[in-house]
């Protein structure tokens, strides 16, 4: 159902050797057995992952799943505890400067200098990456245009809104024309309109500039809308890796959601016994199940419920989303993490208020 082997690079070729070589050539990031422990806490358990050039890969998972740790290791900010990775062909342990030149990163938390203007922030970045002044100027205009900030470039960053700051950070990450861009929760704490605009920028970047983009998110819709491939991460492990469509198709059909009253155990047993029913999960008085040809199944399920002494107060059918995939894989809802997300927002708010 769900393939772990990376979306079929070279899967149609005949000789295994050629397959392997092609996969290696195309992989701009290769992660092998990467693990990270902080004291007694294991943040990453031996991650294996290959990311292709020009891919838009989403790392999806609840907060604390290990997404930021993975990005920090790949960007050489944290050393791995074991295993290793190559980014743009360079070893993250021994060739840090080369890796750093090849990547751009937008951190989860704000990382701009408020007391400089937007243009000065970009100029500072360009200097650190060894760009000469004509190159800096040209590139600055390009990236500012890309994120629609040209008219505000000479204003101090402390006068920017949250969305503008985020856009400036994306522009800065692109300033030195990296081949790989890491975006750590790029839309955390932003309003829906701003989120959509940022999605557009990310899509453009990937399509027009050919930048390989790895973004972490715990928003299902964000991963679904943006990414060509999604790695679902839970508790330091990659539990699924495929395109959003395949992940959802892997659930096998439509999602039926029933609101039921009464003793359910018999009903659930007989549901699971049915061949066309895939995964069944229960959340308070809601029963969610995957089933082929959901429309035809609705009358049957109501009948079945009545015969088992369960009253159905409502039925709804929808196409599966990534949330359902996550629940099936982990038995938990990503939404359980919403409290943590609110805390994050408060943290960002407090941070941006100081100074």
């Amino acid at each position: 159902m769900i393939t772990f082997a990376g979306g079929g690079v070279g899967a149609t070729h005949s000789t295994p050797l050629a397959d392997k070589k092609e996969a290696l050539d195309a992989a701009i990031i290769r992660i092998e057995g990467l693990a990270k422990t902080f004291g007694s806490l294991t943040a990453l358990h031996g991650i294996d992952l290959q990311i292709r050039e020009n891919e838009l890969l989403g790392l999806l998972g609840p907060n604390g799943a290990g997404k930021t740790t993975l990005i920090s290791i790949l960007s050489t900010l944290l050393p791995p505890s074991s295993g290793g990775a190559r980014v743009c062909g360079f070893d993250i342990r021994t060739e840090q400067d080369e890796v750093r030149k090849c990547i751009g990163i937008v951190f989860q938390d704000p990382s701009l200098d408020d007391e400089l203007t937007g243009a000065e922030n970009l100029d500072f970045h360009g200097r650190l990456y060894g760009m000469d002044s004509s190159m800096r100027r040209a590139r600055m205009n390009e990236v500012l245009n890309l994120v629609d900030l040209s008219d505000r470039q000479d204003d101090l960053v402390k006068t920017y809104s949250g969305g503008m700051r985020r856009r400036l950070e994306i522009a800065r990450g692109l300033m030195h024309s990296p081949r790989v861009l890491f975006l750590d929760e790029p839309t955390l704490g932003l309003d829906p309109q701003t989120r959509r605009r940022i999605w557009d920028y990310i899509r453009n970047l990937n399509a027009l500039q050919g930048t390989t983009i790895i973004l972490t998110t715990h928003y299902m819709d964000e991963a679904d809308q943006l990414c060509s491939r999604i790695a679902i991460i839970d508790r330091g492990r990659i539990v699924a890796l495929d395109s959003p469509e395949s992940l959802k198709q892997g659930l096998g059909g439509d999602m039926l959601e029933l609101e039921v009253n009464g003793s359910r155990s018999q009903f659930l047993e007989s549901l699971q016994a049915l061949e066309e029913v895939g995964h069944v999960s229960v959340h308070e008085d809601r029963v969610v199940l995957t089933v082929k040809h959901g429309e035809e199944f609705i009358p049957r399920v109501i009948e079945l419920a009545q015969s088992r002494g369960v009253a159905v107060s409502s039925v709804s059918m929808r196409k599966p989303n990534l949330e359902d995939v996550f629940i099936k894989l982990t038995g938990r809802e990503i939404r359980e993490e919403i409290v943590t997300e609110a805390k994050d927002r408060i943290r960002i708010y407090q941070t941006s208020r100081r100074r």
Binding site: D97, R100, F107, P110, L112, D113, D114, E115, R127, L128
Partner: protein, 251 residues
């Protein structure tokens, strides 16, 4: 070449931020001026160091050193704010050497601290509180540089180990104030009780105050050469520790 451009980049940032915050310049000059004018005039009425040296004249160079101490230490600690606001990550993920970052940050803060101290020094000279020839002024500037660079490095060393800017207050109370009061900036060292004298001798700022005061034609406890050696030793140690801790620091 690469190293120099890193240093320049970090230096430039400090200068731009400094230029943009004139009010902060005034704010950081307020305390030294208060000490100079209130203590200088207040004690000056009944305390003279010698017949030919007024109390104001005695503490003038000490207040210059105070300005350097405060703004250099706080400048070094500003790395902590960069940590708090995430900007440090942007710097640390760049393909440049940490030593270059540290050097640029240090030079930037030394420059801004020196500018404040020079404003004060020019004021003292213009008001005739201290009298010095060109050579004396140049030597004083040399001592000022040593004091500033050493305390910026020390501030960075602390900032590299700390995570919480609220620790500022602690450093203020247990480090900056004692270093200032035990430096001979406000009182002569001769005739001090033994324990107090010993404490001032282990305080590196003592040699800075003594050197600046001596260069500006004031009374000295030690010789200029001894002050210079003592300060240089402290600068080397502070820079070594600061650089070591800064290189080890994680964002």
């Amino acid at each position: 070449m690469k190293f120099c451009s890193t240093v320049y980049t970090l230096w430039l940032r400090e200068i731009i931020r400094f230029k943009r915050n004139r009010s902060r310049l005034l704010g950081s000059m307020a305390l030294p001026l208060l000490f100079l004018l209130v203590l200088g005039s207040g004690f000056g009425g009944f305390f003279r160091y010698r017949d030919d040296i007024s109390y104001m004249q005695f503490i003038g160079p000490g207040i210059v050193a105070m300005t350097l101490l405060f703004s250099s230490m706080f400048g070094g600690l500003s790395v902590l704010w960069d940590k708090q606001f995430g900007f440090l990550k942007e710097i640390l993920v760049a393909p440049v050497s940490r030593t270059g970052i540290m050097a640029g940050q240090t030079l930037g803060t030394v420059t801004t601290s020196m500018l404040k101290a020079i404003v004060l020094l020019v004021g003292l000279l213009a008001a005739g509180v201290v009298k010095a020839d060109i050579l004396g002024i140049l030597m004083a500037l040399g001592f000022m540089f040593l004091v500033s660079a050493a305390f910026v490095s020390l501030g960075i060393a602390f900032a590299a180990r700390m995570t919480d800017p609220h620790g500022f207050q602690l450093i203020m109370n247990f480090l900056i104030m004692p270093v200032f009061f035990l430096s001979g900036a406000l009182f002569p060292l001769e005739g001090l009780p033994r324990w107090l004298f010993d404490l001032t001798c282990v305080n590196p700022l003592t040699y800075g105050v003594d050197g600046i005061r001596g260069a500006l034609g004031g009374p000295q406890q030690f010789s200029l050469l001894f002050d210079f050696l003592g300060l240089t030793l402290f600068l080397v140690a502070a820079t070594a520790v600061g650089t070591f801790l800064f290189r080890k620091m994680s964002a």
